[in-house]
Symmetry: C2
Subunit: 295 residues, 2 copies
């Protein structure tokens, strides 16, 4: 933490043009390892101004609770104070009947949670695209976080218009040959309907060598969902960890989301401790709230 005034001045000077210059640049020297020192290094990626009130809300990617059934998932989501949820298929199988989908959606709604989306949904053929949109429609979801093969994008483009449901392409980092980075996805969808956009998974983004805040700024016009998390290293060796214990500069990520006026959901996908995820999830949720309260 530098003296406040000095840093604020820097923020204001650096904010306008710096993001574009950095987004997409190679690894940014981020491979120095975890902890506070490393994050200071990451901040040589320029801090974002992020002035104004956040328009987004926090939610849960239910993959976090993949070892629990839907009822327990609802209970634990509420326990950590989250009000929005996107269901992964172990909580509501993609093969469910329309009645089953509507029953599950009613169960979520009765618990005063907003079932805003689903995913990650992999789509390898036309039937899987159609099924995903029918599923989302039956559940009343607003966004499908998905991974459609390139050749299915024209069909997705037709579907988002027909159903008026967004599709957010999820980047999966190094090792993902289809969409390793937000930039990979953006290139493929930039000329399609604006309802096709990105789910920026900031853990995979930094593991693939791109600064998360910079990527949010650069592709902000098509950001439809966010998977928020932290990782232990800014390279392919990075593993998921409690938010605040890793290398991602979460305050800067939040500033970037404010800067682009992001108005969707920022969902926690906490992948560590699958059998006992609540402490790490709660710590992560608390950290994000503490950041937002301080900006």
């Amino acid at each position: 933490m530098k003296p406040v005034q000095g840093r604020r001045e820097f923020l204001q000077i650096a904010a306008a043009g710096a993001a574009t210059a950095l987004a997409g640049s190679p690894a940014l020297g981020l491979e120095r390892g975890g902890g506070r020192e490393a994050k200071a290094e990451v901040l040589s990626a320029p801090p974002v101004a992020g002035r104004g009130e956040p328009k987004f809300e926090l939610g849960l990617a239910s993959y976090t609770l993949r070892k629990f059934d839907l009822a327990k998932t609802i209970e634990l989501t509420k326990r950590v104070g989250l009000k929005h949820i996107a269901l992964k298929d172990m909580h509501l199988p993609l093969t469910s009947s329309r009645d089953q989908i509507q029953a599950a959606a009613a169960q979520v709604k009765e618990a005063s949670l907003d079932l805003y989306g689903c995913g990650v949904v992999y789509m390898k053929n036309e039937d899987e695209v159609s099924r995903a949109f029918e599923y989302a429609k039956a559940a009343g979801m607003r966004v499908i976080i998905g991974v459609p093969q390139y050749e299915l994008l024209p069909l997705v483009d037709k579907m988002v218009r027909e159903y008026d449901i967004k599709l957010a392409i999820h980047n999966h980092g190094p090792g993902d040959e289809t969409y390793p980075l937000p930039s990979t996805a953006y290139e493929k969808i930039k000329d399609l309907d604006k309802r096709i956009g990105l789910c920026n998974d900031i853990g995979h983004t930094i593991r693939a060598g791109m600064d998360p805040a910079a990527s949010i700024l650069e592709f902000g016009d098509r950001l439809h969902d966010v998977h928020i998390k932290d990782v232990s290293a800014a390279d392919p060796s990075g593993v998921e960890i409690e938010i605040g214990r890793g290398v991602i500069d979460i305050p800067n990520v939040m500033r970037a989301l404010i800067e682009i006026n992001y108005a969707g959901i920022v969902s926690f996908e906490y992948e560590k401790d699958a059998d006992d995820p609540v402490p790490g999830l709660a710590e992560s949720v608390g950290y994000a709230r503490g950041v937002l309260a301080t900006l």
Copy 2:
């Protein structure tokens, strides 16, 4: 969150003299209930500048884990990433033998935790004062968080010199006839040895109508420990709650601790969910870390 520049300017203007003016003033109109709006109201108590690096560290008041034995308490403290602990007597009875105390201290140290203190220790007679200092000495503790009756303060004054161990008087809010507020304790100890000071329990402080940040600033020269928490209302009806969900302006508390160069431990005393405290404790720890990462 207001526009950054405007608020920062206000911070600099307001910082110097305002705290003294507010500390000790009646309830500050804080009784408007929880959430972000209420905290904005609390901020009519002036924001503190809090420039510089924090010199304090986060720890645990083991009362949080009062339903668990010492081994489990150590395990859970480490799980939420805390490195400093003050033991309450259910984890190490005040009646323990010297050997038992040293064995427990060794158990804590072997787990790479810093056994920095104990408490809250109530002292109603001279024997209880002597016992507390012998206990702390045997365990290698640096501070006793305690509640000595007024008439015992001369003996405490003698003991802190003899043992070179600090005593931090814990305020317990409305209903505590001895030390309801930090100001009550400060009045009694201000002319005694400087090793006698305060453990500011910010939950009880705000429940008794004093702004926590202002009280930290006003009595900062004698602050020897902090119990950090949040409460649902800034009046006697307030109950303990996850940090960030209540009425206390935690960023301002942290700024105040930085402002006074506090170099001790800030310990979480999470009193809710005694049977299952880890999620709420973890959320609270995460929140505090997120605040510190953003200041």
